[in-house]
Amino acid sequence: MTLILEFGLRLTVWLLLAPLLPGIINKVKAWVAGRRGPPVLQLYYDLAKLWRKGVVLSTLASPGFIVGPAAAWVALFGAAMLMPLGPAGSALAFKGDVLLLVYLLALARFCTAWAAMETGSAFEGMGAAREVSFAVLAEAAVIAAVLSLSVQTGSVSLITMLSPSAGAGAVLLAAGLFTVLLAENCRVPFDDPNTHLELTMIHEVMVLDHSGPPLAAILHGASMKLLLYAVLLVQAVLPMGELSPLGAAGALAAGVLVVTVGIGTVESFLARLAFRRVPLLLTTAFLLCLFALLVAWKGSAA
Amino acid sequence: MISLLLIIVPLVGAVIAAAWPDNRTRPWLLPAFGLVHVVVSFWLFVAPPEVAPGAWIGFDALARAVLPVVSLLFLICAAYGVSYLRIRSERPNRAFVSLLLAILGLLSAGHQARHLGILWITTEAVTLATVPLLHFNGTPRAFEATWKFLLVGGTGIALSLLGSFCLGYASLHGGGEGDLTFAALTAQGAGLSRPWVLAAWLLLLVGYGTKMGIAPMHTWKPDAYGEAPSIVGAILAGGVTTVAFTAILRVRAVVGAAGEGAVADRTLLVIGSFSMLVAALFLLGTRDFKRMLAYSSVEHMGILSFGAALGGAGVAAALFHVWSNGLTKGALFLSAGNIRRAAGSPSMDDVRGMSVVTPRSAAIFVAGMFAVTALPPFGPFFSELQVVRAALAGGHTAATAIFLGCLLLAFFGMTRVVFGIVDGRPRPSTRLNGKRFAETAGVIAPPLLLLGLSLWLGLFTPAILREAWSAAVVMLYPNP
């Protein structure tokens, strides 16, 4: 009984609550600009609208054009199942599940890039090349963050890694993971989600030719990825394991809300970085996570 | 408390100079306060006061051994300064006069500092006070020199602060209560934590060595001495380098008490020889006679380090060399200033025949050059001879060979430049320019006096001076 309840709760959070986040971000951006902005539930309406539409399919594209978004969504869902949700834990937990998480995220990216290249258009190819090259540096930062958490707690299982706080390196880890979050989810300063100039896009241009249900899968998957990174960030910084279940759930929800509002604020106040500067920012994020690792190593050795 | 007068009187003079309204009469404050300072310092030299071991500032044996020559150099340069500032009366000299007096007060404090922190504060303050003096000429080249001085000197100060902290922590780690006077640190002796002491020695040597101008931290010297007014160069070369040297000696005593004296001596020997080598090589190549003086200063700082590495006898010789070098360099800088003004350029390419245009300054310059390259019977010959004797007695034959070789190369380099500008027939433009800057008594007497003092020091080194240097050695090396 509790198993079904737990599974239902997990599905609700990941499937139903995830699309709320982009809505909150857009609302924050609108408020900062002095507008009312679109409704917070806008993405739900968009997903419902897209689901009802048909697909425009190129005759030259292989089935990979449809399989790509679907496989990406399934990979992201799998990753979401692995991510512990505060007191509720994760659906599946074993030693080394953090590596599987990273690989699933990489698989999702690969499928999206494959689907983008299927169109044979120059724009998508350019977007795919940019996205993948930035991902190299972003993944290095994620690995460094994971290493720092693992050295801190002495384990490679997500549940154990994320329950205590990150200790002395918490601020560094938070800064590094936040930057990675912005990079992986295509937010300013790496990529402007509101731009309409294809030459300046990274992620949006990759999905330029998708339509209908595959596009809905891509959008939903992106919101799940955002929620995933936000949950990771919050749990890495806050000492989840020391709070009561209700307190931990509340702290997690509040933390995710703070991160979302933070993303909105950053998007409002920063401009997109010139492409040649992006490696610098990502290297900084990597080094910040590395310094968190250093602090954890020195702290545990003392 | 008379020793505090040495610090307070010049600082009061600096404040008075800053407030003095008349640009023409302000320069007279320099020799006025300089005279008071000389009287007090020689009074204390003859009748040294008792210094409490725990005092932070005191006219101890080391200060007694070197401060009088700094004071004397300042007075004679101050007398020159009156004439110099009259020639340059178009520039406001408020900052110049007050900062020079402030430097004198700070140098006195630095020489008498028996506390690690006080020593650092005073030397940093001297560096900061020197900056406006360096670009008194206001040319773009002067700014460039000032900027390099500030960056390199500032880094040196930062490193010496770090070294001071390392030494303080060495004491703390060894169970001390944090008394950072040199006496307390030496008393703690072997209790000091060795790794920290070595780190401190390295950092303090580099930091204070930057102020001294030993290689490889000498890069600011040619530019700074080349572009600054020569009176500033004389005081820097004779006074500021001395306080840095006393700082290194005091630290060396602590390091020796901690048991790492052999390491300290080795590093001093290597740095000293390296400085002499670098200076000699650059002297062979330079074409600017003011930069030549800077390289000569680097060489003599190398000689001082070399001497300090040779134990008690070597340190006594080095202290003798502080006196002879300070007086001779003063003569060289001041006469070089006269020549530079009359010639209009510092470079060998533009300047010739100065023996015709400025005969007296040229004569002093040539004599000073011979003195500084160790011609008997001037002072530097005897002090360098004493260093060589100490080196041979200590068995450092290879190092002595390098020492003498560098002196020879330096001699070649300096004679090349000096005779290049002094001999020959001057250009018409130089003759014209020289007429504007006549050789008055005010600009000839001071360098002549300094040269004479250097000669007197060599011929008749008074016993009281030798006794003062030995007393300083006893203070630095209590257990020979």
């Binding site: 968190a292 020195k298 | 930062a158």
Partner: protein, 215 residues
């Protein structure tokens, strides 16, 4: 003394070193440097034994005000007078200088084990943090082109030395701490004046123009 809070603050200072190495805009460099000064100024407050000595608190407040407000405003004034906002492509590129800085920090953490520490300092990152900041300051001093960037590098160097000095906060009399702060402030003031004069003489703060003096 609470090593936990201290280590968090030192970690933030190390992160600010990175940000300083990565900044290409002068305002962000000045901000990183001043923020680091404020963070470091706070530290003496967490190093007290039982009660807070008012003298220590006074020095901490003075340091925070000096490094966080006065010195950055002097630098910003010089920057506005010189009309520059951006660093020119430096001698040592941004990513290489960050790599060197990070490598140096890692080496500092490793090498700091060679220096024996008193038990009350043993768990803190004071020594590696100090060495890391000093190295960052050197990289900025040597690698950057604009005069103001070099000055910021010098101030980060002084931050590192101040961090090191915190080891001695209870034994070193406050005389020396205050003297240091005073000297730094006066030094920056002097530097500001020189920078202004350089700007007027050369009409630029590009230190590559300061190359006429040579043999």
């Amino acid at each position: 003394m609470s090593p936990g809070i201290l280590n968090i603050l030192i970690g933030v200072a190390m992160g600010l070193n990175l940000i300083a190495l990565a900044s290409s805009r002068l305002p962000s460099l000045i901000r990183a440097m001043s923020l680091q000064g404020v963070v470091l100024g706070m530290m003496p407050l967490f190093m007290g034994h039982e009660s807070l000595d008012w003298r220590v608190a006074a020095v901490a407040v003075a340091t925070m005000v000096g490094k966080g407000v006065i010195i950055p405003s002097l630098l910003r004034r010089a920057m506005r007078a010189a009309n520059i906002e951006r660093e020119i492509e430096p001698f040592l590129g941004y990513v290489p200088s960050m790599m060197v800085g990070a490598g140096g920090t890692i080496a500092a953490v490793a090498l700091a084990r060679a220096l024996p520490l008193l038990p009350e300092h043993a768990e803190t990152l004071l020594v590696p943090g100090a060495i890391a900041s000093i190295l960052t300051g050197f990289i900025l001093l040597i690698g950057r082109v604009k005069a103001i960037s070099q000055v910021c590098g010098y101030l980060i160097l002084e931050n590192g030395i101040y961090l090191f000095g915190l080891l001695l906060i209870h034994s070193t009399p406050l005389l020396v701490e205050s003297g240091i702060l005073l000297d730094v402030t006066v030094g920056v003031f002097v530097i500001g004046i020189i920078v202004d004069r350089i700007q007027r003489a050369f009409d630029s703060l590009d230190t590559r123009k300061l190359t006429t003096l040579r043999e």
